[in-house]
Subunit: 110 residues, 2 copies
DNA sequence: GACACATGTTAGAGTCGGCTAACGTAAGTA
DNA sequence: TACTTACGTTAGCCGACTCTAACATGTGTC
């Protein structure tokens, strides 16, 4: 559930594709596996990782297990990216302002 | 520069801490390494990964190399997270609406 | 119960990633 | 030039990760 787990989970291309598959609709494990050319076993393990990272939720329906993306699981990661993004951009804006002030005083000095 | 590279780079706790260190100010490789209890070598390798992912920029100053976070490098990742976030939330909203409609017609049926 | 179906779990092989130690390189200094 | 400072790079170890193959579990059906 930590940002660390979420990032590690997302760092795997297969897992990102799985996540996109179950973003809009519930899918059974087998249906998900059908989209890939690796074993069902591999997909099952990927689903476990995604589940433990809180990025998908599992629901049982008889013998099947249905998976669906859990957007709130991305909350921590989104906060991390947004915070970094805005803070860095603020720094850039400050630098631009500082440069503008420098240019201005240079002009005045002429 | 791809989202894949960015996510792999961010999936390492040391690299995330490095990124936060150079978010607001330029730091030399040695100064960065001083914040950690691993070898300078390890930090140097992390810096290479961050650089190749486009998350930091390197500037030479004599014998020193200064590093600074590159917010634009996060653009792709931010887009990925935002897109996923908003799309998933839209799905949740739709589901909530559908349920509200169901409840309403149930009420009417009484 | 017997069987088929859907899926999870485990063992083991191969690969990747992070780390240290040792070496290499380039810039500054006496 | 000789020496120091500040880094990067490489080789190799070790643990973590991904995959397949085989086995285990649980559910529905006859």
């Amino acid at each position: 559930m930590s940002v660390d787990n979420q990032l590690r989970a997302l760092a795997e291309p297969h897992r990102r594709r799985i996540l996109e598959l179950v973003r809009d609709r519930e899918l059974a494990a087998g249906e998900i596996a059908a989209h890939f050319d690796v074993t069902r076993s591999a997909i099952s393990q990927h689903l476990t990782v995604l589940k433990e990272a809180g990025l998908v939720v599992e629901r049982r329906d008889g013998a099947r297990r249905l998976y669906l993306a859990e957007p709130s699981g991305l909350a921590g990661l989104k906060k991390f990216v947004d915070r970094f993004w805005t803070t860095s951009l603020a720094r850039l804006a400050e630098e631009a302002e500082a440069e503008a002030r420098r240019d201005e005083s240079t002009d005045r000095a002429r």
